[in-house]
């Protein structure tokens, strides 16, 4: 009897904790949606006083260039080697340019650049906003009749949204250069075939444009997660550290889930 009631108690506790997690998650989702609307409402200043947004593009975008370009180059070189190894078995090594370009432009460029952007820029945006909150800088701003969402959050959000497609494009471009270096310069694939097949097979509407759309959506997701986690951080050292971790984990999951959804729609359209 006692064992039965203990088991029932455990199940009730477990159900209770699942219920709490679900309601907490829904409440936070509601907060995030409201926060997103507040960012949109407070975005006027980000464009009227463009220097605020340009400053954030410099911090989030320009300062991420090194990691984006180096990673793009290496991924392109690996694609060149792996692609050549597979294609030459079927005697289609000339199609290496197409393989490298399509993989990068449609998939790897937007996804890997977004993952790198989330770890490099997203985490620092969360840390900065979280620390501003912990040191009462956001409250001080609010008391000075300056809306912190319009002045601090919105420019960082738009800085991220604008930077992301540009970084993904640069990632893909250096990746293609990496594939060219390995395929044409080192392995000796025909240079004419490498470029001409790429030019003939990569469609702007279906391939390049879908990559741009993906990276734009990832930019919105990562930037929103980064600013929200920072703004919602508990104002303590542990709170800020946990928010930074959340930004990286949630951004990665959001990017991969959104990639799946967007790709399925894009294939259906094609």
């Amino acid at each position: 009897m006692a064992g039965d009631s203990r088991a029932t108690g455990r199940i009730a506790t477990m159900l209770g904790s699942i219920g709490h997690r679900v309601t907490d998650g829904l409440i936070r989702l509601g907060f995030a949606t409201r926060f997103f609307l507040m960012i949109l409402l407070g975005s006027g200043q980000s464009f009227r006083r463009l220097h605020l947004t340009i400053r954030e593009i410099y911090f989030a975008g320009f300062q991420s260039l090194l990691i984006i370009l180096v990673s793009g180059l290496f991924i392109g070189m690996v694609l060149g080697m792996q692609g050549y190894e597979t294609l030459q078995r079927y005697g289609s090594a000339d199609a290496l340019g197409v393989l490298v370009a399509l993989s990068l432009v449609r998939e790897l460029g937007p996804v890997v650049a977004a993952l790198l952007f989330a770890s490099r820029a997203g985490s620092s945006i969360t840390a900065e906003i979280g620390l501003m909150k912990a040191t009462e800088q956001l409250t001080a701003m609010d008391m000075m009749a300056v809306n912190p969402i319009a002045r601090v959050v919105a420019p960082r959000f738009w800085g991220g949204v604008i930077s992301m497609p540009l970084l993904a494009a640069l990632f893909s471009a250096t990746g293609i250069l990496g594939g060219y270096l390995i395929g044409v310069v080192f392995i000796g694939v025909d240079e004419g075939a490498f470029w001409s097949q790429m030019q003939a097979s990569v469609d702007f509407r279906y391939d390049v444009w879908s990559g741009i759309v993906k990276s734009f959506v990832f930019g919105i997701a990562v930037s929103l997660i980064a600013v929200f986690e920072g703004y919602d951080a508990l104002p303590t050292a542990e709170g800020v550290s946990s928010s930074i971790k959340s930004t990286v984990v949630k951004s990665a999951l959001a990017i991969l889930a959104l990639d799946f959804v967007l790709t399925s729609f894009m294939f259906r359209e094609a």
């Binding site: 040191t135 009462e136 800088q137 409250t139 001080a140 701003m141 008391m143 000075m144 009749a145």
Partner: protein, 272 residues
């Protein structure tokens, strides 16, 4: 509301979720005066400042600032009112990514269309008033605690506010900085024709500079008076505070079961 009071608070209740902080508090802050709100840590002093500044909304009661009901203002009206308020936060809350000069110039640039030359002169004058004109090029990280507090003070008075609020202005300062900040609070209030509310638990420093003191405990006003009345007060809470006694109406011990009971009880439970 009478015209001689800049701030009037009546029957104010406030709770964080189900934890009551303020319980039917009423007080008046006359124009042009320096008023201290004192009490132990966690008695609701800072919450009271946040309610006056409109950062929190009371569950009941009224907060009037210059005749306007703060809890009922919309965002635009609240921001218009806050432009006439200055607030000094406990640790300064300076913007760490910009210099001392830019911190003081912040509100001028955000809220006015003044030319940069004029802003420069005004910022240097504000910094001169707190004795830190020479430090205008430093970053906040390069300042000592007392200097940061003075820069924050210059920033709080940047737009010549009608009401200046200080949250623990003396916390963590050495005796020299403490005296300087105290004198500045008094001098700036009189020079600007402003009204000052100072939340603090530094009784000795406050008695030297304020016109009036409210004592708070458990979310209520328990005593009030001028510095002379406070010094002469026989109220047990005031007495404990003024003479810094460890025990009294504010107990030394956090509420707990009797020690003997706890020790014997824990022995009976195998030392846990």
């Amino acid at each position: 509301m009478s015209a001689e009071n800049l701030v009037e608070i009546s029957s104010l209740d406030f709770a964080y979720e189900d934890r009551p902080i303020l319980d039917g508090i009423s007080l008046r802050i006359p124009r042009g005066k320096v008023v201290a709100i004192m009490g132990g840590s966690g008695c609701g002093k800072t919450t009271l400042l946040r309610l006056i500044g409109g950062q929190l909304k009371p569950s009941r009661g009224e907060v009037l600032v210059d005749g306007q009901s703060v809890p009922h203002l919309d965002e635009e009206e609240l921001y218009a009112l806050r432009r006439r308020m200055g607030m000094l936060f406990q640790f300064g809350a300076l913007f760490t990514d910009i210099s001392v000069f830019d911190n003081v110039a912040y509100q001028m640039r955000e809220h006015t269309d003044l030319p940069e030359e004029l802003i420069r002169d005004m910022v240097l004058m504000k910094l001169n008033a707190v004795g830190l004109r020479g430090a205008h090029g430093l970053m906040p990280a390069e300042l000592s605690g007392g200097m940061a507090r003075r820069v924050a003070l210059a920033r709080a008075i940047a737009l010549d506010p009608m009401l200046i609020m200080y949250d623990e202005p003396f916390a963590g300062l050495d005796p020299i900085s403490l005296g300087i900040i105290g004198q500045l609070i008094r001098r700036l209030n009189d020079a600007l024709g402003a009204t000052t509310i100072m939340v603090t638990h530094d009784i000795q420093e406050s008695l030297l500079i304020v016109d009036y003191i409210y004592f708070m405990s458990d979310g209520k006003v328990v005593a009030l008076g001028t510095p002379d009345e406070i010094r002469a007060s026989q109220h047990p809470f005031v007495h404990q505070f003024v003479f810094a006694e460890a025990d009294g109406p504010v107990p030394f011990h956090y509420p707990a079961v009797p020690l003997a009971h706890e020790l014997l009880g824990s022995a009976a439970h195998g030392g846990r």
